[in-house]
Symmetry: C2
Subunit: 161 residues, 2 copies
């Protein structure tokens, strides 16, 4: 395995580990419990779930691997804070979105070649990318993993232990 | 810049971004405020600071780039939960440890060659590394960045906004 393949493997492994942690977290909570705030006055679990779906759904477009599935979530979960609007609050629906999106991303990610991962993402111009080749798809994946870890840290606070 | 150099740059950039976020966080809090819990009954900021120092200090040994500076923190901040012992609680001292450690890690990381980053870390045998070459120093850096992001997510909850 060359270094390129190795690095993609490392970045994907970190991503998958964190997705699995989120899956495990969701299994441990009932739909009703998803309306709990992670700390008094802070975001509810359901909001963070919607927020993560919206952010990850954007990767389909950013990586040019498919059309967005849940763009209608952006207004509620990206552009508005929790409890700002009559929040879309169907826990069951969000759970199924989360699962479907992960299934699709997993298939698409596995189809991407090493050179795909080092290619520019859709939100940077060819000119800028020529100057900053580190702004590739793999870098987005690394950043999204850190973003997911950040929110998992918050979700962990709701747990009993 | 070849792909190897690019990975290292990407991974170091994510690390540095999160260290800077932690620095910014610490600037915004007085020593007294560091004794606040991130949520009711949860870890205090001071504990998370000590925990991050202990985890990052271990990287010196793990990367074979120096002797540990603050191994005495492990007992309190790695092996024990917050408030379990008469906690080492000198905020000023922990701030200076955090700064000194980051200064040293920054210098050492910048001195490491690309092949150093892809080499095995100190906690894996040559035999295991031959089978799992992804268990290299760069992978540790990626994992530690996710770990830092995880705790930054918790610390963010203490902020007013």
């Amino acid at each position: 395995m060359n270094h390129d393949e190795l690095f993609v493997k490392m970045a994907l492994s970190a991503w998958n580990t964190h997705i699995q942690r989120m899956n495990k977290f969701l299994e441990d909570f009932s739909d009703e419990q998803l309306y709990t705030e992670v700390a008094p006055g802070k975001n509810r679990i359901i909001y963070l779930l919607g927020h993560l779906i919206a952010v990850h759904d954007n990767m389909l477009k950013l990586f040019s691997i498919g059309d967005r599935l849940y763009a209608h979530l952006d207004e509620i979960f990206l552009n508005s804070p929790d409890k700002a609007t009559t929040t879309f609050a169907d826990a069951d629906k969000l759970r199924s979105y989360w699962k479907k999106l992960n299934d699709i991303l997993s298939v698409k990610f596995n189809q991407m070649s090493t050179s795909d991962w080092f290619a520019k993402h859709a939100a940077i111009s060819a000119e800028d990318f020529a100057k900053e080749p580190e702004r590739n798809k793999l870098n987005v994946l690394i950043n999204r993993t850190n973003h997911l870890a950040y929110h998992l840290g918050q979700l962990q606070l709701v747990k009993k232990s």
